[in-house]
Amino acid sequence: MPAEIVLTRNIRPGLEPPDLKAYERAGGYQALRKALSSMTPQAVQEAVKKSGLRGRGGAGFPTGAKWSFVPLGSDAPRPRYFILNADETEPGTFKDRHLLEGDPHQIIEGTIVTSYAIQADVAFIFLRWEYRKAARALEKALSEATAAGYLGKNILGSGYSLPLHLHVSAGRYICGEESALINSLEGRRAVPRAKPPHPTVCGHWGKPTIVNNVETVANVPHIVLRGPEWFAGLSLGADSGTKLYSASGRVKKPGLWELPMGTPLREIIEQRAGGMQEGFRFRGALPGGASTDFVPEDRMDVKMDFGSLEKAGSRLGTGALVVLDDRTCPVGMVLNLERFFARESCGWCTPCRDGLAWTARLLQAIEEGEGRPGDLETLDGLAKSMGPGLTFCALALGAAEPLASALRLFRDDFERHVAQKRCPWR
């Protein structure tokens, strides 16, 4: 039986996204009607909790549990905020873009239902600056939804009101980190905040705030409409739902597919992406964007879900596979990644600010044939210094994952660079 397509079913690549009418014809805004007319916010939370939905931004935190941290009740602090994290900047990743450009109403409906579930008073879409097309699609959809009474005061006569603002980011990777995002939204430097307190208690303007990823929120209307059991049944493994996977690198058909959560990596590469291009051999892949550990060839059968990849020594991340082949220098690839992370460091904490700059410079030296004995041990130490709890936020942690795994898996290649004083691929 072919797997069910949920999130991307209305998306027709190359064509305009469905407008309000088309979206409604396809069953759009029924979840919102159902939630507002027959479900309490707690019931929506409960459904999402039961569905097993985990955050699709990379960390995989259970969505319903996150929502439940927001204090509700008459004496709880107000206003409460919901922020849709559409600041997708993870290298190799374009799943949120696909959803935003292809079916903006689905995202808006998910945002309203989510806001209702946490009783948010105001909601924002925090959109990556470069996503111009998505911005246009969202602007159009927002005005349609507002005109139709899905947004604004007293939505569908339910008594629930929600203003939803589109905020276009000034454009930095760190803005995807939820507390840096909040600082940026407040008009301040995009520097992460210390946690605790978590934004769920003390976020935007010091008030309870939920920040969810685009793909996460896209799932919410479907869970509300079709139930948590249906959602849990979509997947092939322990984690529920479908997942947007993509593959880039020297594969025959790079692309993006919605597949059951837990589809094996090998299946994505070999069946969806058509396998490696002629003359190229698979050496490894970053399974979830740039900030995940390499999965080597001998682990290609790993299921692409949170738990399985963790057991395989990596992370699901965004589910965007970046494939390394045998004719590409792994040192050069890691250098490219670390340059990105070094540049995108916000500059707040030392291991990230100075450690990544040194890492990138050292990798450059090795790649250019200026590596020296001891350099790899220095890199090992730098990667270790960006381990869990050692840096202020997860940026450096993510930067350390491809570095540390490459140093482990492709050690010979690094050593050849140093020993031969050149890049063997050049």
Binding site: A194, P196, G206, S345, C349, T350, P351, R353, A357, L362
Partner: protein
Amino acid sequence: MPTIYIDNAPYPVKDGQNLLHACLSLGFDIPYFCWHPAMHSVGACRQCAVKQFKNADDKKGRIVMACMTPAAEGTRISIDDPEAVAFRKLVAELLMTNHPHDCPICDEGGECHLQDMTVMTGHTYRRFRFRKRTHRNQNLGPFVNHEMNRCIACYRCVRFYRDYAGGRDLDVFGAHHYVYFGRDRDGALENEFSGNLVEVCPTGVFTDKTLKEHYTRKWDMQTAPSICVHCGIGCNTIPGERYGLLRCVRNRFNGEVNGYFLCDRGRYGYEFVNSSNRIRQPLQRGDAGEKEAITRESALRYLGEILHRNRQRIIGIGSPRASLEANFALRTLVGPDRFFAGLSERDNGLMAAAVKLLRESPARTPSLQDVARADAALVLGENVPNVAPMLAFALRQVMLQVEIRDTAKVGIPRWEDAAVRDSAARFSAVFIEKAPLFISAPTETRLCDIAAPTSPASPDDTARLGFAVAHAISPNSPAVPALPADSLALAGQIAATLLRAERPIVVSGPSCGSEKVMQAAASVARALRAAGRNVGLCFTAPECNSVGLAMMGAAGGIESALKMAAGGADVVIVLENDLYQRVDAASVDALLHAARRVIVLDHLAHATAAQSEMALPAATFAESEGTLVNNEGRAQRFFKVLDPGSSSVRESWRWLRDIGRASGFAEFTPWRNLDDVLAAMARELPCFGAVPGIAPPAGFRALGRKIPRQPHRYSGRTAMHADSNVHEPQPPDDPDSALAFSMEGFPGPPPPSLIPRFWAPGWNSVQAVAKFQDEAGGPLRGGDPGRRLIEPSPKSVDAAADETAPSPFKARPGEWLLVPLYHVFGSEELSVLSRGVAELAPKPYLALRPEDLQRLGAADGDEIELTLNGVTLRLPAKSAPGLAHGLAGLPVGLPGMPAVSLPAWAVLRGAATTEDGGSPIVKG
């Protein structure tokens, strides 16, 4: 009291601390950068890593940042864990990747926290072999030097400058390892606390630009505990000297007064000590009218002769900027009936009234740190940032108390500095609406950015608002008749806010020239006290010993002295005072002419000294020991940091003692040293009974030894005078204190009032303060120095009969009520002699509301002619929208501005209507 386990040994710690704070308080050395005892934790530098274990069985543990981890009951950590040690070493190495190896030419060298911490972590060999990132430096004005290449990005500077000091023109720019801390363009730092960047910065990015002009290493600097003389707050300082030159002034921690910080006037106002205009030898007017230098002995012989004959005909004019001892010596010499305050009659009356109100108030005079801990404040009539900058700094923290209280409700501890601030949404307009700080004053002040919105008001209307607040709090306070509805509503709002607060304070003072305003403030404090609130009543004091002089009491001000002199006086002795800065020139001239002889004791050859028959070289704060009483009523001792050497410069009290002895006055015979003066003063004036006890006496010895003013690493002792004499000179004697002009002496920590510098093994920077405290950031071990002389009055808390509100202010057509305007840089006589301070001081001007300017047919910068008590001044106009209606503002104390008694009504005319275009200032 929780118990934590450090490397398996149990330690009791205070509640609610983080691990770094707790460990430093216990005496452990953990390196850190971004944490600061006054600014707490933000977790940026990652230097203070330790290993934390879940329980006694957990052998693996995980690395945590000590500054971001609560020291909760049962917490188990290891500082010595090899992984933690290695991580700390790597972090130091990372910080050093871009740090230049310029320690030998860096002003911070030898007192650099980065040096100390690098040594502490054990990082020695750098592995980073690439080009360092470099930055362009900025010219940040006369006080602070900028060298960005040295930056390790700890973020302390911007946190201090923006979050604590309220500055807006220093920020962090850029990202990743190119973060840049500076201004958006070159230019003088606008915030009056910028000098603290020098001490807040853990390395040499921000250094003291004035020190650079006569640079000396910390270890080569002779230092002593001192008190700032540039306003009435009494911040504790450490001046540094070498080769007879005062090199710099640094902060001296006092947990009750200034804490870790100073204002720029206090830090950079010291250069008058080195002035070429100093009086170094007694000067006597010769036959030709020119001043001639004479010896100390001949001066004393001469004075002895003339005073001996006419003791009943000597008038003494004391000084609010001279020590208690100097004023007391003069008072003893001339007798209390002929001892006058060196202030205008009006200013003397205001200070006397202020001290009376404080003494009779049931409210406590808060220390500066009490102010910083207050959770609501009402300011009446004062431009606090310009009159008492560090008091404004303290008031700025009032907002923080609200944030701390609100965030505590959601479980955020105070030390989570960024979280406390982020959660309070301090930039939102809603937050300002709820601000617990209210200011009513003739002009807007730099505190208005964090205060509830109020309109500027004339002194009388300010007093009326204050009385209305008092009435709203307690019906026992008289009602204010004919109060407009909006003022009534505001008074109600202020009253409610103050009543809601746990630690409210009322701030006022004499600087707007209105006793009624101070009465109103006292009335609010009394009403709050009657309502059972723990309220503080805080008055500013214009000068370093204004309160001391007022407590001593005088027979009147300068005008009274003139009256007495006109009745017949042989000699007028003027103590540390330029009378031309106090009252109008005509009165001073009259006084100086009425007396046959005028003797001036002061540091500098000013206008009054020029008019004198004899000018005697009086020691500055840097060359003398003495006691000052600050606005809190706290008596504090300062100590000599440099010996005047072979010059005739002496403490004023010593000059006066010697004059008394030369005149044969028996009271002075037993005055051998400062302790004898203090004892005599305590006997004569019981209000100063506690003053002898504020520091150990001259005979104090620690394990038989004096306290050395020079560090044990002081270099060149045997060589520094070799250009004049190859023999090592005997160190100067200091008969007045337990401090020695030597490297030798007691090597341990001295009693808190005698701490000449903060240094501890491995801690060469100012961060060594922690080693002198009971707990990091807490009071000095042995108690913070100083003794409070004014305590709350236990008497009845009913309103005094004369406390009624003045009538409403009425603007007059064609006339303006001139009010004094103060400037942090410029309004104080001595600090403005520093080049940098002078550079930042404004030129004389007349402030007018824009519509008043228009009415006079003048534009910004045009000359305005003002006539006041027969004096005509011509000044460029300055548009001042922040001024209350009907008022005009005249800056006071600026060089070139004549003394004018304010407030006063004045007639103004646009200069276009005047005939000649003469000099900017014309004395009528």
